[in-house]
């Protein structure tokens, strides 16, 4: 646990030294979401209908974009191997690294989503439900992606394969996230899909760090 916190602190320091990645990630998110509305030239109602789906898909993609940063640098310079040789449980290691990654790459998307939602014409309660779905869904996505990142950490240019491994399993999270926002936008209670997302997150927190740790061990040199 204490070592997990130390890893977390270390990760934050490294990420803030590479602040440019954070900016790139946020810019990619904002620009790609606006691309949809630009090229489609959709009418306002259509935009509101598509908003949740577009924002969710782009959030998923921009998080995948940052995923190679999770283990790849540490694998290449040997830090990861040293960490695995120490007495630290690799599950804690994976959890701490995933948590830092989410704070840096996931949290900004959650905070920005009401703005983008409003630009897509979402109104009222939907503007609260959209960030809530992202706040519940993106940590689960990061944990899922951490397993795939650990499995592909040894590969150069493994990000395509990483995406292929994550996307099928990420499907339910995406579906329930979009569903909740759509329900809220249409004036229905969105509690049920939100609770499903919460259940996914709890299951992911319980199981996936362990799988990611095993994957780190399995692909260690």
């Amino acid at each position: 646990m204490r070592i997990g916190l130390a890893v977390l602190r270390n990760e934050f320091l490294i990420y803030f030294k590479k602040w440019i990645h954070i900016i790139v990630n946020i810019a990619f998110f904002i620009f790609s979401t606006s691309l949809f509305s630009l090229v489609a030239g959709l009418e306002q109602e259509l935009l509101a209908e598509w908003g949740a789906g577009v924002i969710w898909v782009v959030a998923l993609l921009s998080m995948l974009l940052a995923m190679p940063l999770l283990f790849q640098p540490d694998r290449e310079d040997g830090t990861l191997d040293l960490m695995l040789l120490s007495a630290v449980d690799p599950a804690w290691l994976a959890l701490a690294k995933a948590a830092a990654n989410w704070c840096v790459f996931g949290l900004p998307l959650v905070l920005l989503s009401p703005l983008l939602g409003a630009s897509y014409g979402l109104e009222g309660i939907a503007l609260l439900v959209l960030p809530a779905t992202l706040a519940l869904g993106t940590p689960a996505l990061i944990l899922l992606a951490a397993v795939a990142a650990a499995l592909t950490a040894g590969l150069r240019r493994g990000v395509g394969l990483l995406a292929l491994l994550v996307l099928p399993l990420a499907l339910p999270i995406l579906l329930f996230g979009v569903r909740a926002t759509e329900l809220a936008a249409d004036g229905f209670p969105a509690g049920a899909p939100l609770m499903m997302l919460g259940a996914f997150l709890l299951a992911a927190l319980g199981l996936l760090p362990w799988a990611a740790g095993a994957a780190l061990r399995a692909t260690a040199n």
Partner: protein
């Protein structure tokens, strides 16, 4: 927990290779014969359905394919889990051998399902349908397993990494199985259940059961052939393989 000794003996590569070579032709030919009988019974002898007419007959290919798609995933995941837990190399070889067979049957299940869906539902595909989507997810899990296995160069690393993916993907199996009960779906509910009397007349049922049994035997034979090839590849520097090769030459 330890594996029983007889299993370890069976799992020694030369022993497995010999046993598999002996039972494989029996499985293959009895499986093909059962498929022929089942196809004849299903396509010609069984009566047409009162609602779906003759179009329902694709069930004789769709159901075995879908059944095997899931069974082979389970085999792949169990093999991977045994490999990860007990470090049994043969289990990894069987998992790797089962993956392409499972992918093929998943593709067949998807294709026959789409052909059946067009006349019955009016559409080849529906994205809102949980059964269709979860089977597509399984298709991509098979694909991901094979691609990950192929892109990691060292075989033992590839076995372990792809094995973890297979085990994580097991969450999808109950979703596929129960998707038609949990969500309202275009896909019809289960026809055959272990606990209840089947919702199908015997004249239609027996060709289906023969077809399923034949497909299981056939897929096991194909998987065993592939597993033997995997074992040969993995053990190519071992003495027994060289001896066997010399005996052949």
């Amino acid at each position: 927990m330890r594996l029983p000794n007889w299993l370890h003996k069976f799992a020694s590569p030369p022993h497995f290779y010999r046993i598999a070579a002996r039972i494989e032709p029996w499985m293959l030919w009895s499986g093909l014969a059962a498929i022929a009988v089942g196809a004849f019974g299903g396509l010609l002898l069984a009566p047409p359905d009162y609602q779906q007419g003759d179009a329902y007959r694709i069930i004789y290919f769709h159901v075995p394919a879908a059944y095997l798609a899931m069974q082979l995933y389970a085999l792949m995941a169990i093999g991977s889990a045994i490999g990860l837990i007990w470090r049994m190399k043969l289990a990894y070889a069987i998992a790797a051998a089962a993956a392409p067979v499972g992918l093929a049957f998943t593709g067949l299940a998807l294709a026959t399902g789409m052909l059946w869906g067009k006349p019955m539902w009016g559409a080849y595909w529906s994205w809102g349908d949980a059964r269709l989507t979860s089977v597509l997810v399984m298709f991509f899990l098979y694909l991901g397993y094979m691609l990950l296995h192929a892109s990691l160069e060292e075989r033992s690393t590839a076995d372990r990494a792809a094995g973890i993916l297979a085990v994580v993907g097991v969450v999808n199996l109950p979703i596929i199985k129960f998707s038609v009960e949990w969500w309202s779906s275009l896909h019809q509910g289960p026809t055959i259940s272990r606990l209840a009397a089947p919702a199908i007349t015997w004249d239609m049922l027996w060709p289906l059961l023969v077809m399923v049994a034949g497909s299981v035997l056939f897929s096991m034979a194909v998987t065993l052939t592939r597993a033997r090839a995997e074992v040969l590849l993995r053990e190519r520097s071992a003495r027994w393989v060289r001896d066997a090769a010399e005996a052949c030459a």
